[in-house]
């Protein structure tokens, strides 16, 4: 599998843009999240929601929660958390 050359201008540009977008997305998730709801969840679910707020990685958050994707998406809705892409 071929990737853009590490340290190439293209890769730097893509990763820089991604980091900026991800920082903005993280801020949106933090701002919109219903933190009272999140804090009331059992430890595993709370950890998964907090992980999702910080990372935006829904698949890994599902693993942490021990939930499938659709149930976890519903949990995000209950926590008032937008899926920012």
């Amino acid at each position: 599998m071929r990737f853009l050359e590490l340290n190439s201008a293209d890769l730097d540009e893509v990763l820089k843009r991604y980091a900026e977008e991800e920082a903005e997305a993280r801020e949106v998730r933090r701002r919109y999240a219903d933190w009272d709801y999140i804090r009331k969840q059992p430890p595993r679910i709370r950890a998964a929601l907090e992980y999702y707020v910080e990372s935006g990685d829904i698949r890994r958050a599902c693993l942490i929660a021990g939930m499938d994707l659709e149930d976890f998406r519903e949990l995000l809705r209950r926590a008032n958390m937008p899926v920012v892409v």
């Binding site: 853009l4 893509v14 698949r59 998406r73 519903e74 892409v85």
Partner: protein, 170 residues
């Protein structure tokens, strides 16, 4: 996106479970002749609303099941492994990777909301040319083609409407 109008798309779970809640969801079938749903993706969907919408459109022929072949699964597994090896990336899992592999092989538009997949395709030379659309691109394209009964100036309101409809808890 290629100059030719895309006729086919392949959708992943993240896209389908939100899109099925959107009031103008059937506009998808005005944009594409067929939208493929891999079997691995179908197995992940379980809510009544989403399953009912998928089943009804499978029956109408708007959606078509995609049965993964061994070579597609093998390519998808390579994508998963490559994404997990790179510290820059959010890991990509097999269901989304199948969509990307099929998108590359067949020239289908990949419909996804998965950030990991979007980033992966943007830094992989092998997958950079695969067209990847999120719901917002689908709505924008439908608006551009005047398939949604709105003025272009209302596009922002349409995005907001989509965001609200997919955020509401059932």
């Amino acid at each position: 996106m290629s100059a030719r109008e895309p006729e086919f798309a392949i959708a992943d779970t993240c896209f389908l479970i939100d899109w099925a809640r959107y009031r103008y969801r059937d506009v998808l079938f005005k944009l594409f002749k067929t939208v493929f749903v891999p079997e691995t993706i179908l197995r992940e969907v379980k809510s009544e609303n989403t399953i009912a919408w998928i089943a009804s459109n499978l029956a109408k022929g708007h959606l078509t099941l995609y049965t993964e072949t061994a070579d597609v699964v093998s390519e998808a597994t390579s994508i998963v492994e490559a994404s997990k090896r790179s510290p820059h990336l959010i890991s990509v899992e097999l269901p989304e990777a199948v969509c990307l592999a099929v998108g590359r092989r067949r020239g289908y538009v990949v419909l996804t909301e998965n950030r990991g997949l979007i980033l992966f395709s943007s830094i992989s030379s092998d997958y950079r040319d695969v067209a990847i659309w999120r719901a917002l691109e689908v709505i924008a394209m439908a608006s551009l083609k005047e398939l949604l009964e709105i003025e272009c100036s209302d596009l922002e309101a349409r995005f907001k409407e989509y965001e609200e409809e997919t955020l509401i808890s059932s």
